[in-house]
């Protein structure tokens, strides 16, 4: 039955092309919408993920990474005094102003960490080294933001005015973008505090590394005895931040809706093809039934065709989605086609093809062998 099904499908070029286009279209749309969504999730919490740590300490009431509450230096030593804590790393993550070449002011996100502790920040330096940010006023900005910040020519060495402080570009990051589109400015902790107007020893977050992750619960409890402080596991803070931006933004339903539209178009196009195939071959299929083929064997006529369309469409769709992802990255849009995105997306496309077979399978099952003599 495989040969009959596939040869018949291939025989009808126009239907074949139309239905492959339909599945491909649906696959591309679903994968890209999901990839954009996954990209938003990744971007919104990228700083947390890259900073690492087991427990994040922040002012009580903080909802999202992008809050701008301040922790006093005293709380750092208090947290560090806990016997299970191996390190407490400060993170300055606060918005500030930049004065652009044209004279106008714009907002930026200043990120500062202490060098030599924990993972390297920023995480994707295209030019320069993390150590280059140690000099006074040395910053790294993203290649994509250069135009927005009105920096022309070779950016390395370009002078900036951030939060009233003189700064000089010493590094260029690649694809380090924030969900809010506020340009990231990475610098050393001292300059970050000055640009953000923070006092000595202050920070927005204490990122805590534990000697033993098992004592997280206990450490968090101890820290939270201070009514000013809140301690959250890193994974939970990632989720909180993602929920804040994505959950509250309506972006999820919007992307989901487009993906659904793609699937609906796919169901209609593929369903149409499978149905007309079955209808066109009604007489031949009835003949097979008269010759003793079971209904199950006839269902495989539809099954092979649906499976073939799903396979070709998913493959083409994946290739196009990956190519689009590359092009989108160059344009500053992060699309993440992770293995789970691929699995769920292609799973949806397969389900779509199953749904599209429904009418044809019904038709095949209702086919009367006696029709052969009509």
């Amino acid at each position: 039955m495989r040969r009959i099904a596939l040869l018949s499908l291939i025989h009808d070029r126009s239907k074949l092309v139309a239905s492959i286009a339909g599945v491909t279209f649906a696959a591309v749309l679903v994968l890209l919408q999901m990839g954009v969504y996954a990209g938003f999730l990744t971007i919104s919490s990228a700083t947390i993920t890259h900073m690492g740590g087991d427990v994040w300490v922040m002012p009580r009431g903080t909802e999202v990474l992008d809050s701008v509450e301040i922790l006093s230096s005293g709380t750092r030593s208090a947290v560090g005094a806990h016997p299970c804590v191996s390190d407490v790393r400060p993170l300055v993550f606060v918005w500030s102003f930049i004065r652009k070449a044209g004279g106008t002011r714009d907002s930026v996100r200043v990120v500062g960490v202490e060098r030599g502790r924990g993972p390297i920040m920023p995480w994707e330096l295209e030019r320069g080294l993390p150590s280059d940010l140690e000099g006074p006023g040395r910053v790294a900005v993203d290649a994509f933001d250069l135009g927005k910040l009105q920096i022309q020519g070779d950016p390395i060495g370009a002078r900036l005015d951030i939060g009233g402080q003189r700064a000089e570009i010493a590094g260029i990051t690649q694809g380090v973008r924030s969900f809010t589109l506020l340009p990231f400015v990475f610098t050393n902790i001292r300059d970050a505090r000055r640009m953000a107007g923070l006092g000595d020893g202050e920070a927005n977050y204490w990122v805590v590394d534990l000697k033993d992750p098992a004592c997280a619960e206990q450490v968090m409890g101890d820290i939270q005895r201070n009514p000013q402080l809140m301690a959250v596991r890193r994974e939970d803070f990632v989720t909180m931040t993602q929920n804040y931006w994505i959950g509250g933004s309506g972006v999820g339903p919007a992307l989901g809706f487009s993906a659904l539209l793609g699937l609906i178009v796919g169901v209609v196009v593929v369903g149409q093809t499978l149905y007309t195939m079955t209808k066109d071959y009604e007489r031949e299929l009835a003949t097979l039934k008269a010759l003793g083929a079971t209904s199950w064997e006839l269902v495989r006529f539809v099954g092979w065709q649906a499976g073939f369309l799903a396979l070709i469409g998913s493959t083409l769709g994946s290739v196009i989605a990956f190519m689009t992802t590359g092009a989108a990255a160059a344009g500053g849009l992060t699309i993440v086609l992770s293995s789970s995105v691929m699995a769920v997306g292609l799973g949806a496309v397969i389900l779509m093809c199953v749904a599209a077979s429904f009418m044809s399978i019904r038709k095949v099952l209702k086919l009367q062998a006696a029709e052969v003599f009509k």
């Binding site: 009959i4 040869l7 018949s8 031949e284 003793g292 006696a370 003599f373």
Partner: protein
Amino acid sequence: MTSELSVLLRAWDVRKTFEDGALQVPVLHGVTLSVHAGQLTLLMGPSGSGKTTLISILTGLLRPSSGKVELCGEPISELGDGQVSAVRRRELGFIFQTYNLFPALTARDNVMEVLRLKGMAAGEARKRAEDALGRVGLADRMKHRPGELSGGQKQRVAIARALASKPRVIVGDEVTGALDGQTALSVMEILRDHVTSSSAVLIVTHDHRLERFADRVVELEDGELAADRAPNRHWTSSRFDIRASQDQGKLP
């Protein structure tokens, strides 16, 4: 004449009434009939007399409203659908006026895929398909698709498909209906050759010229057997025009 054992198709008092909504359409009014091995039997009769309905019932494609049907000894009117399918798969070959070949498949694949559906291994099925096509004179047309074959050639592919599994019963409805006179006769010759002492061919037709290939002619009229006679082997095209009879659906 023929022994009890060699009866391949048998109907006892078969009645059929179609229910068309509230409308009852009685078509067969108690047909009792046996089709014997070693014979080519023609089933004739005016249009609407119930010929197609009768062979559908004899082959288990339709269920009789009452009466009993046996196909190669199996009481198919009493078996479940799955069992009837299995009997058909084993014992029957069909040929149709409209050929019913898959246009995307070559002549060989059309024959071969049916054998595959009947459970035959690919290599064996290919060999059998090639043999069968050779027997109907299409050895040089194996790789042609139906669209590249004439009507007569297509019908020969359909016959090869019916023959290839070596069924004991071959049933055809108007198998020559779409063919010109000469081609019709050559197709009948092939079917005639298939009749052996253990197999039977039952053909529905309006064409009296086919009588020369037959061993027996059964005539149906208004859903009842009107005649069961020896063939008249002297019908010729000058006395009878196939097309005219088909258009009127009546015998002259």
